[in-house]
């Protein structure tokens, strides 16, 4: 598994740069990961990311866009504004979680 350095921190990532170890993440790292894809974190961003972090250990997989929207009450449209173009993928990247499976 490749290791990469994000800011001052060394983490394990997959071929696309998604973190592979849930416990290597903290919010400081989340801020760094967001900056790498051009996103400056605000409280609205954190509401979504904190939900993803809390949901993952219970569900065993990364929440879909619809799940984030339904369970946090953030409209999908707003998620597209906060994490432009590919919100599900970008949220997973910032939250240090596997890319959501678009399903099957």
């Amino acid at each position: 598994m490749p290791v990469t350095t994000i800011g001052p921190i060394q983490v394990h990532v997959d071929a696309e740069g998604f973190l592979t170890d849930y416990d290597e993440w903290d919010e400081r790292l989340g801020t760094e990961l967001a900056a790498q894809i051009g996103i400056e974190m605000t409280p609205a961003h954190w509401q979504a990311i904190r939900f993803l972090r809390a949901d993952y250990p219970e569900q065993g997989e990364t929440a879909t866009l619809r799940r984030v929207s339904t369970l946090t009450g953030i409209p999908i449209k707003t998620l597209f504004d906060l994490f432009p173009k590919k919100p599900a993928k970008k949220m997973a990247y910032i939250a240090g979680l596997p890319k959501p499976r678009g399903c099957v």
Binding site: E61, R66, T70, F80, P84, K85, G102, C103, V104
Partner: protein
């Protein structure tokens, strides 16, 4: 004498019928009562819907009464389900009838919900906007295709997961062949709009199926998440403000599990029942299972998955009611024929962990079916499957295909970039 035990199966579709019929053979009739609840007595062979728009099947060729498909000794109750009361081990119907159970199987599947996308169910519904996952939709679309004299036809998926995730691709391939046969292909622009990043979910199959779209000059609009439909301008509008105009829209509405699942507190955000993906037992409930499309397992919502799952479930259920641990583990096995047009089809075979790969099936190197490559034999297989469905699959007769996916006969391959 021991008290009669009650198995209640909600939904008399593919999964529910297989569960009831399979367990009827295995459970003593004096000790076990098996009851299926459904809202109507019409069982549809849903894979047949795909061919109706192109005149391949008549509507009456794909439906039969549920009652005739259930084994003797299985009761059928017709009624709308209001809710499950898990604490009271009771299902309440809309007319107030209460049905107690010792074990409950939820097999109420998934349903297209055009009401969930603004603008879909308006004036254009079944005028220029069609679905083909319902008998009514597929039948109405047959008329619309016959009358279509050119323009832009958009095949569209609202969001994943959907049942039979390859069907929209098959529809696009069949439509392309249909217009060619009618000598009007040059007057039809075909667009495939999907929320996925490519033609399909899994990389190798996505590359293969994506190049089949290219070869047929079907434009792929990927990562397209529809927000609403503007009925006046006949335009799909995505959350990131992309627009696709259409003359004819063939859409796959948002798929959701049954509303009673949500009312009963048993569902996730799309009303699917969260289950253990290997045993299919509902999380937090010892005597409730969800089989087929109704569960949240990360597998295709497809009859083949339900079939393989029932194989594993049956053994587990018999162990469970005898107080033994459930040792069978479902692997998410799916196999699907994918119609390619011109009398050819692909076959894909995969599970939770292994994506569709090229090769031969079910006999390694022999076939007769080819995996992930179009062939005529695959197409005949798909057509023959309708007979197998009514006469072997639903009655619960053994079909000589192992429940667990096998790697034998599959070629490892790097995804194409």
């Amino acid at each position: 004498m021991a008290k009669t035990r009650r198995l209640l199966v909600l939904g008399g579709g593919t999964a529910g019928t297989m569960v009831a019929n399979t367990l009827r053979r295995r459970l003593d009739r004096r000790q076990w009562q098996i009851t299926v609840v459904d809202q109507n007595d019409t069982h549809a062979y849903q894979p047949g819907f795909l061919f109706i728009p192109f005149g391949g099947y008549r509507p009456d060729e794909v439906v039969k009464p549920r009652r005739r498909l259930l084994a003797r000794g299985v009761d059928l109750v017709l009624g709308e389900i209001d809710r499950v009361e898990p604490v009271a081990d009771t299902v309440v119907l809309a007319d107030g009838q209460r049905l107690g159970y010792d074990y409950l199987v939820i097999a109420t599947g998934t349903t297209p919900r055009p009401d969930q996308t603004p603008g879909m169910l308006g004036a254009q519904w079944r005028t220029s906007i069609f679905d083909f996952y319902t008998l009514e939709g597929a039948t109405a679309l047959a008329d619309a295709l016959r009358a279509f004299d050119g323009g832009r036809l958009v095949v569209h998926i609202v969001d994943m997961p959907i049942k039979c995730p390859v069907a929209p691709l098959e529809f696009a391939f069949l439509a392309e062949a249909y217009f060619r046969e009618r000598g009007m292909r040059d007057r039809v622009e075909l667009v495939y709009a999907t929320p996925l990043p490519g033609a399909f979910t899994k990389p190798i199959a996505s590359a293969e199926l994506g190049s089949m779209l290219d070869e047929r000059k079907i434009a792929l609009e990927a990562d397209f998440m529809v927000e609403r439909i503007d009925e006046d301008t006949k335009t799909l509008i995505s959350y990131d403000e992309r627009e696709i105009g259409f003359d004819l829209l063939v859409t796959v509405p948002l798929n959701m599990g049954a509303d009673f699942v949500a009312r009963s507190g048993l569902g996730d955000e799309l009303n699917y029942v969260p289950v253990d993906k290997h045993t299919l037992r509902a999380k937090g409930h010892d005597n409730i299972f969800a089989i087929g499309d109704a569960s949240n397992i990360p597998a295709s919502k497809a009859g083949s998955v339900a079939h393989f799952a029932v194989d594993v479930f049956t053994g587990n259920f018999l162990a469970h009611i005898a107080g033994r641990p459930m040792t069978g583990s479902f692997d998410g096995h799916a196999n699907c024929f994918v119609e390619a047009g011109d009398g050819r089809a692909l076959l894909i075979d995969f599970n939770y962990d292994v994506e569709p790969l090229p090769g031969r099936y079910p006999l390694p190197h022999v076939g007769p079916f080819r995996l992930l490559r179009p062939s005529r034999v695959n197409h005949w297989g798909k057509l023959a499957f309708r007979w197998l469905y009514w006469h072997a699959l639903l009655p619960g007769r053994p079909i000589p295909l192992p429940a667990h996916m096998s790697m034998a006969g599959k070629q490892h391959q790097e995804p194409k970039e």
